[in-house]
């Protein structure tokens, strides 16, 4: 009896202290939108990868300094230009306790190459992968691949046994709105594990006590609480309901800093925002002219020169953006300052160009925008709609939540859309491979140029850096002169957090909670 009472008291005490925030170090993290799916191969999208990165790991990874370093593989070597060996750690366990072996790595890479995977183009250069022994993996590429490590850093390793048990061998078909076990549950080797998942509401990460790595954080849990409304997000931050916001609204940075108990950090982000115009369709779905004005370069140039990017930078972005001339940013192989120069803002010659192209009275078109993905995305769209209106192009705005926007974009709806592109491999090839290659999955402008396709092949296979850089430069020149897309700006991101929270800011906007602390 006495022991029972004692146990009760003990239990009560442990409950009271166990749940009090003073003991449990928990970071409450918020951003505009949520991860689209927990399936690590189903969607190649920023916030989705941000969430996966906390629970899943790859063979190699970028550290805080953005340099590639070992993660699940301790070392690697290329025995010839197309054959690589990766030697895995032998002490890695998944969060359910099963050890990770080369079988899981082979399974994951093959999984990421399935038709429903959004990473299949990412690693299309991988020809075969096989397990040599329990902790050695051999990867063969179709051609010499100078950016294999960059590509592998985003291919997360899932447990083969777990995926098989739960009918999630193939990645979730996200475009067809499929739901699978792996889209709402996660089983990785990372420093955290997901214990609760309510899409768009709450995701709880708990510390993975079986993690192999050297624990540098002091957290017991992380809660991701997406808040769509900017003012509500800031209010939640200021009231202490949220500890860190990884997309602090630009208009509120001053207010947050002046609160005394919060801090703001900004860094140029590795992401370029642009507009895409479908040049493949014979007739615009939302047009009124019966043809496709975007097929004419004059029209594309007119729209380009109608955009007053300085006004957007000053008023919409409050200075926190860098006008862009190409869809890539400083730090990426192939970027040059000269390429990044924009055509001049000139509404008068834009009008002339429109008239020359045969649209003196403009035309109608619908612009599709996400409203919870990029910094002030909807406001940028509203602003450009006004600017296009000034040269007579009557644009109606359709702004919707990112999951709908991206889904409809991939299902080839819409003529005119906003998109942002980050370059996780820090190599121009990534941009060309997804946005310019004929028939590529995100090439929704239907750009097709045989010379560019050839140059992309060169980028994939050429190991002579000089020749490769020349190919990149030539490709950039072709697509820039063609005005296949309308680049807007490179984003600058701002993180705001309580002063006792330390999450190092990174230019790819990905927090690494394994390096974070709460005091």
């Amino acid at each position: 009896m006495k022991i029972k009472n004692f146990l009760r008291i003990l239990l009560t005490i442990s409950l009271v202290f166990g749940f009090s925030s003073a003991w449990a170090k928990s970071i409450k993290w918020s951003m505009k939108g949520d991860s689209l799916t927990l399936d690590p191969h189903a969607q190649n999208e920023g916030p989705t990868t941000m969430v996966s990165r906390q629970v899943y790991e790859a063979l190699v990874t970028r550290g805080l300094d953005m340099k590639i370093g070992p993660q699940l593989a301790t070392k690697w070597k290329a025995v010839n230009p197309t054959t690589w060996y990766f030697y895995l750690r032998d002490d890695v366990k998944f969060s359910n306790g099963t050890p990770m072996t080369s079988e899981d790595v082979v399974f994951s890479i093959l999984r990421a190459k399935q038709p429903t995977s959004d990473f299949k183009e990412y690693i299309s250069a991988i020809a075969s992968v096989k397990a040599i022994d329990k902790y050695t993996v051999q990867i063969k590429t179709t051609e010499p691949n100078p950016i294999l490590l960059n590509q592998l850093s985003n291919i997360f390793v899932v447990s083969k046994a777990w995926a098989t048990e739960n009918f999630s061998i193939v990645p979730q078909n996200w475009n067809a709105s499929q739901e699978t076990y792996a889209s709402t549950n996660a089983m990785g080797t990372g420093p955290f594990k997901i214990t609760l998942r309510e899409p768009n509401t709450k995701t709880v990460f708990k510390k993975n006590s079986k993690w192999w790595g050297n624990v540098e954080h002091n957290l017991t849990s992380i809660e991701l609480l997406p808040i769509a409304n900017a003012a509500t997000r800031v209010a939640a931050l200021l009231s202490g309901e949220i500890d860190i916001v990884t997309d602090a609204p630009v208009q509120d940075l001053g207010r947050i800093e002046s609160s005394g108990s919060h801090k703001v950090e900004s860094t140029p982000q590795m992401r370029t925002i642009f507009l895409g115009m479908d040049q493949g369709a014979d007739k615009l779905r939302s047009g009124n002219t019966g043809d496709n004005p975007f097929k004419k370069k004059e029209v594309r140039q007119a729209l380009y020169q109608a955009i007053d990017i300085k006004a957007i930078q000053k008023k919409v972005m409050r200075g926190l953006s860098e006008p862009a001339g190409i869809i890539t940013f400083p730090g990426v192989t192939g970027y040059t300052k000269a390429l990044d120069e924009r055509l001049a803002y000139d509404p008068e010659s834009a009008k002339k160009l429109l008239a020359e192209a045969g649209y003196p009275n403009g035309f109608d078109v619908e612009l599709r925008c996400p409203n919870d993905r990029y910094v002030n995305d909807e406001a940028i769209c509203t602003a450009v709609v006004g600017m296009f209106g000034k040269i007579g192009v009557n644009v109606s705005l359709n702004s919707q939540t990112k999951s709908k926007h991206f889904k409809e974009l991939k299902n080839k709806k819409g003529d005119f859309y906003m998109l942002g592109w980050g370059v996780p491999t820090l190599d121009s090839h990534y941009v060309f491979h997804y946005l310019y290659d004929t028939g590529a999955s995100w090439n929704r402008v239907n750009f097709s140029n045989s010379r560019v396709d050839e140059l992309i092949k060169v980028m994939e296979g050429e190991v002579d850096l000089e020749k490769r850089n020349a190919a990149i430069a030539e490709a950039w020149k072709i697509v820039k002169d063609d005005i296949s897309y309308l680049p807007l700006h490179h984003q600058v991101i701002s993180w705001a957090s309580a002063k006792n929270i330390n999450v190092p800011i990174r230019p790819n906007n990905e927090p690494l909670f394994r390096f974070s602390s709460k005091n």
Partner: protein, 308 residues
Amino acid sequence: MDNQNLSLIERIRDSDVYFSFIKSPTAIISTIILTIIFFCSFFVEFVAPFNPFNPSSLSLMDAFTPPSWSEDGISKFLLGTDGQGRDMLSTILYGSRISLIVGFSAILFSLILGVALGLTAGYFGGKYEMFVMRITDVQLTVPSILMALLVDGIARGLISKESHDEMAIYVLIFAIGISEWPQFARVSRAATLVEKNKDYISASTIIGVSNIKIMFKHILPNILRPILVIGTIGLALAIIAESTLSFLGVGVPPTTPSLGTLIRIGNDFLFSGEWWITFFPAIFLVILAFSINLLGDWMRDTLNPKLN
């Protein structure tokens, strides 16, 4: 029958309603305010200094101009501009027109539906009456905003995204209208029950006047007073409901903003010190709803003291 010879204006002057009106300063003030608002909203193309939806008249560089009396304000924009460089005063006037159209249409819809059901229920009685009145009971347990959200949600599911923006305003009218009709049904049924047993109705029945004629020609005019009173108060509620829904993002699309949408948009700038973007639409909404309510109060006191 001695006032048969007087002209309409003289008849109005002679009435107790007019007397009560000129004795009530609140009624006079709210009527003046409402007249100005209605006038400005319906002739907004001529009254507003800018057309905020004509992109060629906008300049993004004008964005976030504070009201004209503050330090950085310019006289061109009396109440300042929003984040896209639109003149706040014009935007509010255009927005209030949408709010008023939705409010009036919704209340008209629920008035017709509610009175038709309440009147017939009170007149015919029996199982039909019980059925209608139980529906109102059930619906009154559901808060009207929730009801409107439900209707809007269903409509979004049924209507494709492409046509939704055009349909949004009709969906909104239906959603608000359907959530307000039980009030009208209850009041008109109660009033019908009183009238039904009066001698003139019995007389009409005996001489063989048809039911429809009795209901709409004899009973309806006699129950109009209480209906007008709750109709006026309902109008204020409908305008607020519209703003609430738009504030929650399920109302009219941002391309044709109503007052609620404007307040929602402005809310994003509250922390950054651009208070005027949300403050002016909000204060305008308060004045509008307050005036209608005060007028409704006065009408209730004058037309139907029993409702008090």
